[in-house]
Amino acid sequence: MKVRSAAPVFAALLAAALAALSCGKREGTSPLFVLEELEAASAVKDSLDRLARLEIFIRNNRSHIYRGVAYERVFETMAERLGDAGGAMRFLRESLSDEEDPAMRGALQLLKFRYLFGTDRAAALAFADTLAASERSPRLFMMMGYYCMDPSVDPARATALFLRAADLSRGDHERSQAYAMAGAMLEERGERGEAKRYLSMAAGNPEADRALGEILWAEGKREEAIDLLVACVARMPGTRAAVKLDSLHALVRSGTRDLDERIMAVRVGDEGLLPEASFVDLEGRRHDLATLRGTKLVIYALSPT
């Protein structure tokens, strides 16, 4: 009996497995596996090969959130490594034609806006104007507003972008952040009346509490100002020195212990139940928040950049 080599069989099985990975549904795929694939594509040294690998990644992960990172890397490779701004813009246009997810569309539009803001500010501002009616990502408008806080830009433009972000917001935290940014920017530009109007619409937001507290202190309303600065430091502890809370508080009342207690009384509250979710860690282990009930948790949302 003739023994056939097993090599072709293994090759066929491997090809089938790779095809399944490339073309099949990715919903059940571990996010760690998807990210490993993305990093492997991103690590390719040759820029053109890197682009090809990243574009394959995008095609294979059309519904995965991490395609957003691949979009960033394709754009960066084209615009910065290869100096092909036209190609980068064409890539964004084509990607947008395939995207319906508001957050992903916003991320793509933000790439273009940032690039233009750094190379042709007038074009960036004109581009921002075109997005108001068509895009629905609050983060896009927040970020464009943030860029437009630059002193060279008319504050009315930044305000309009923050207000659009507030309109599109999905909850109180996002909405108050947008009003807080508008108010803080207007305060910096010396438009105190308008600033106070937006800051008061963002009550409870630490940025707003800080800006409004500083305004009220300057107006001599010291007790109200201290209440707001305490609220700011309670939620943004890193601002304690910057807002000079200890020295301002000492002018109104004596005793650091009293101040620490006031801060802690605001700091600890109740935002309601942590929504249930499950995540994979860097080693591929799954963690389900619901199964951790009965244990106190500290969750530190971070970026390694």
Binding site: A43, Y66, M236, G238, E271, V280, L282, I299, A301, T305
Partner: protein, 100 residues
Amino acid sequence: MPCVAEFPQLETLKGREKELGFRFFGLEVRGYLKLMRDVMRDKKATFTILLDDRRFARETLQIPGTPTTFIVDAEGRIRCRLIGAAPGIDEIIAEVLSRI
């Protein structure tokens, strides 16, 4: 890199999990796997990093930026939200944990 600057304090806090009766998790929101691993190695950090592959932090919890810290009690209620980096963040978190 405000988040990374806090890693030594976070590692100290992680070392107090048993004493203070809590679990500590980092939640990576950008999808930068290699960079995250590089930072963990460089900083000799050992705490668990979860991959946020559903915009949980940005859309569900509506964080304004990173770092943002959530402290959750044993009943699963969010009792404290701390925005931004701060000197002595480990002591601040420990103090909140002792009150919930």
